[in-house]
Each structure stands twice: as structure tokens, then as C-alpha cells.
Amino acid sequence: MKKKFDINNPKLKENPFTVPDGYFLEVRSSVSERISTGNRESHSSVWSIAKPQLILVSSFVIIFFIVYGAFSLFSPTVKGPEVTILSSNSQYLEEGFLKTTFVDFFDFEGDTTTSANHKIDSVELITYISENIDIITLASLE
């Protein structure tokens, strides 16, 4: 059963607190001591409360920038250096080596301008193998 709470009950107006024995005698000496030592109240403002948290957040931000900086500095950039080479060595453009990847660089067949120059005739290839068969065999044995 719920008990009805009477806010006007005089018992509630009584002081429910106590203090340690001899506390009020100590107050005077504590205050006098603080006054004589010039120990004024430590001004703990919003800043002093938030300081540890702000330091923590700032250190995270600094670490993030260091890691980000390191990554952007040491990660391989694809376009940057290539553009520089191409612009300073225009002969590559003329020879048809305008490639963006390492694989494409060796893909002669796919390159219409260069494939004609580098095509090996099959007859030529057979002649070469028959003439140098011993060397090839020896090389494969090793």
C-alpha cells in the first residue's frame, strides 16, 4: 500500500544532517591558517575542468594529422611524377609510351602505334631457334 507523503510534516523540517565531532571549532583555525598562508581559493574555472579532456582531444587530432601527413607523404602517387616526366621528356609521347600503368607499358599488342615496329616475324623466330637450339637447351637444363 502506498504511503501518503505529507510535505508539511514538521519532522521533515528538522535538520537531518550531522557534522564530525568538534568540526565548528576546527573551522576557525582552518580559515585562519588559509588566510595566514595566503592560500586563496583555487580558481577552478570551466577551463580547468575541461582542460584534461581538451588535451586528450587535441592529442588525438595531432596524432591523426601526423598519420595522415605520413601517409600522404610516403604513399605512391600515380599521376604526379608521370606528368612531370612526360612534360619534360616529350619524346616519350612521340614514341607512343603514353602509358598509365606498369602492365600497359609492356602491352605492345594493344598499342597500335608501337606494335608494328616490335612485331617478330614467325619465320625469323623459327630460324633463330633452329640455329641456337643448343644454347636454349643448355639454358633450360641449368
Binding site: 510534516n9 535538520n15 544532517f17 564530525p20 568540526y23 576557525r28 588559509r34 581559493e41 575542468i49
Partner: protein
Amino acid sequence: MDDKDLLALYREQGKENYAFNLIVDKYSERLYWHIRKLAGSHEDANDILQNSLIKAWGALPQFREESRLYTWLYRIATNETLTFLKRSKLRAFFSLSDYSKQVENQVEADPFFNGDEAQRIFRKAIMKLPDKQRVVFTMRYYEEMKYEEISEILGTSVGALKASYHHAFQKIQDILRESV
């Protein structure tokens, strides 16, 4: 010794410390109970009281007796308590802890609480009030101060204080109705 004599003694050359000690003796207990009912724990009340008295010591040379010494000391103690409560809330906010839970635990675990269960529930309800309403409620309910007196201390109009007390009273009744 009345306040006028105490202040006259304070203004005598070389008697500042002695006079101030007498002021501390005369008012520290009343100020302590006022602070304790607002702040809750003994440790907090002790810190606030000492800070208030040290502030009073620093400001006493500028005290022009436009208000009574007791009222002036009460104002310093009340402001100091409100600042302390604000700081505690900020501290709880930055440490990501629940301030109202903290206050509730403080009432539960207070080794210097001598009341019965009804008083404990009542204290918890008071501690749930907004700071300024708690100040008005405590001064009126526990200390039975007149609105004019509270107005002088807090610098708030009597009408606003009456409204504040009424709201606080209603809120406490609501909280008690829910918790009992």
C-alpha cells in the same frame, strides 16, 4: 558583540584578524547549515564554507555596510554554493557521468545523515530541483526566512521568489508522489 561593534573592531589598526575570527565564530555555523542543505555532503559544504569565509575576508575592506553583515555573508555563501554546483555539473558532463545519479548516491551514502527514510526521500527530491529553486525552497522551508529577507540576499524580487517557491513546492510533491 553585535555586527556594528565587530566591524568597528575590524577597522581598528592591527585588530583585523581578531575581529574576523569573531565574525567566523559568530556566523560560521549558520552559514554551514545553509550551505549544507544546498550542497548535500559535508565535505563539499566544508570546502564551500571555507572559500566563502576567505572571500569575505578579502572583500571585507570594501564592505560599506549598505546591507547587514549577516546578509552580506549569506550572499557570498549562496553565490559560492551556486558556483560550486555549476562546476560539479560541468565536471559530471565532461566525465560523461550522470549528475542526478551522483547526487542521489551522495544522499544514500552520506555518513553524516541522521534522518529517517522519509527525510532521505525528501532530501533526494530537493536535490532534484534546479539550483535556484533549491536555494529559494531551502531558505523558505528549512530556514523559514521571509521573502523580503531572501530577496535582499539573492537580489530577486519578492514576486519572483514566491513563484519560484511555488514551482519548487509543486515539483517536490510530484517527485514524492512518483517515488513513494
